[in-house]
């Protein structure tokens, strides 16, 4: 279960870093001359905490974690390991599914904190190296429009996404049928449905909480 978190860190760091940098560069580009360039800190802060970190982490982990869980449980289904568990009186739901869903729901917020930090860091790097923004200005911009609630809202999203991705993966893995082909199908379905659910939930949560 630690695997869900630990092994996902590099990809989360990488994607968050670059999305922070891109936000930085692009917002500076759009500001043109009449918006002070130190605003870039606030744009990076807000978009990373509120949207980019949870969303991108969610989508990346759908591929990383959701697909793995679906393939793992699906393989256990088609090789009769789930039947074997049940014949040994284990309840497959509490033995296989619950730990994964719980781990995912707990791990996601931590990964998104990492993504937050990396995203803002990436934004700062891009702003200070390729633009006329000093560290002082970047932090000033970041602080001026920083609301702690934005970060909390990101955590709410993270928890919801973690629960959703792992549940969808477990469901499709558990009901896999038809050998290796079936495992492939379950994995693909998991990724597609999770992605759709994430963008939809992202919108729904924004409607509800903002």
């Amino acid at each position: 279960m630690i695997y869900i978190g630990a092994r996902s860190i590099p990809i989360v760091v990488l994607t968050a870093l670059f999305s922070g940098m891109v936000t930085s560069v692009q917002s500076a580009y759009q500001f043109s001359s009449w918006v002070p360039s130190w605003y870039v800190g606030s744009v990076v802060g807000n978009s990373v905490l509120l949207e980019l970190a949870p969303m991108i982490t969610g989508l990346v982990l759908t591929g990383r974690v959701g697909a793995t869980i679906a393939a793992e449980i699906g393989t256990m289904r088609v090789t009769e390991q789930i039947d074997a568990l049940e014949s040994l009186s284990f309840d497959p739901v509490s033995f296989l599914i619950l730990p994964r869903v719980v781990a995912g729901t707990i791990m996601f917020p931590f990964l998104i904190i990492i993504a937050d930090v990396c995203g803002v860091f990436g934004g700062w790097v891009a702003a200070t190296t390729s633009m006329d923004v000093t560290t002082y200005e970047f932090i000033k911009g970041f602080k001026t429009w920083f609301h702690p609630w934005d970060a909390w809202f990101g955590m709410i999203k993270a928890t919801t996404f973690g629960f959703t991705i792992t549940s969808i993966a477990c469901y499709h893995g558990y009901y896999t049928r038809g050998g290796a082909l079936g495992v492939g199908k379950a994995t693909t379905t998991t990724v597609v449905i999770s992605c759709v659910c994430i963008v939809f939930l992202d919108y729904l949560l924004a409607e509800l909480f903002l």
Binding site: T79, E80, Q81, L88, S89, D91
Partner: protein, 249 residues
């Protein structure tokens, strides 16, 4: 004793079992044969409560297991060792962890007596010293034997085998047939063997049924089946695919 009454099972409109009934007496070795896809595994899974019938009953030792809750089934499953077709070993665990998992759940053993039982079960299938291997390091025949060791480790009263010899070389087939016979005589176990190998039928079972199109086409001893005039039975035991075609001409 196992008693099956009028079992029906349909999957997504496909009738797999259409009224199957038989009795297996205590201590008997019972064979279920039939071609691939005839519903042998489905039938076996009903005997241990992994599948629930649409219609019909399964009784084990006067307990109606076809209508039991998961909790109550646990009590019955302590008495049953199930061997799956490809072993169904948990591939994230070593050989010994596979067996320990079963022992911890279904017996009260712990500590050194638990370890002794693991060693003893592996020795009884001729796989001493494989404790630390992962399932991916084992050959097909070894996986099946570890599967047998895991099932026999709990000292069950019933052993169910799903195609224990399918896909193995003749020597390994004989090894496994001997194991089935050994456990039957040493431990007084009631055995159900699903197979489509006639060699296993002649060698190990006391009574055999042939499943065909969801029903029992034949029920009798291995001697009887050799003498049967039924074309479906004849075709199955001789493997002559032209037999039924000639009849319909």
């Amino acid at each position: 004793m196992i008693k099956v009454n009028d079992l029906h099972k349909t999957f997504e409109g496909k009738q797999v079992l259409r009224g199957v009934g038989f009795t297996v007496n205590t201590g008997e070795t019972f064979g279920i044969i039939g071609k691939s896809g005839s519903g042998k595994s489905v039938l076996l899974k009903h005997l241990i409560g992994l599948l629930k019938p649409d219609v019909g009953e399964v009784w084990i030792d006067d307990k109606l297991i076809s209508a039991m809750s998961f909790r109550k089934l646990q009590r019955v499953r302590e008495k049953i060792g199930m061997v799956f077709q490809f072993g169904a070993l948990f591939d994230s665990m070593t050989v010994s962890e596979n067996i320990e998992l079963a022992l911890k759940k279904l017996t009260k053993l712990s500590g050194s007596s638990l370890n002794d039982r693991v060693t003893e079960s592996l020795a009884s299938v001729g796989l001493e010293g494989t404790e630390k291997l992962m399932p991916s390091e084992l050959s097909g025949g070894m996986k099946k034997r570890v599967g047998i060791a895991r099932a026999i480790a709990i000292k069950p009263e019933y052993m169910f085998y799903d195609e224990p010899t399918t896909g193995l070389d003749p020597v390994m087939t004989d090894t496994i047939n001997r194991l089935i016979k050994k456990f039957k005589t040493d431990e007084r176990i009631t055995t159900v063997v699903v197979t489509h190998e006639m060699l296993t039928v002649y060698d190990v079972v006391d009574r055999v049924i042939l499943l065909h199109e969801g029903k029992i086409q034949f029920d009798g001893t291995p001697e009887d089946i050799k003498k049967s005039d039924d074309l479906v039975v004849k075709q199955f035991i001789t493997g002559d695919s032209t037999l039924l075609l000639q009849e319909s001409r």
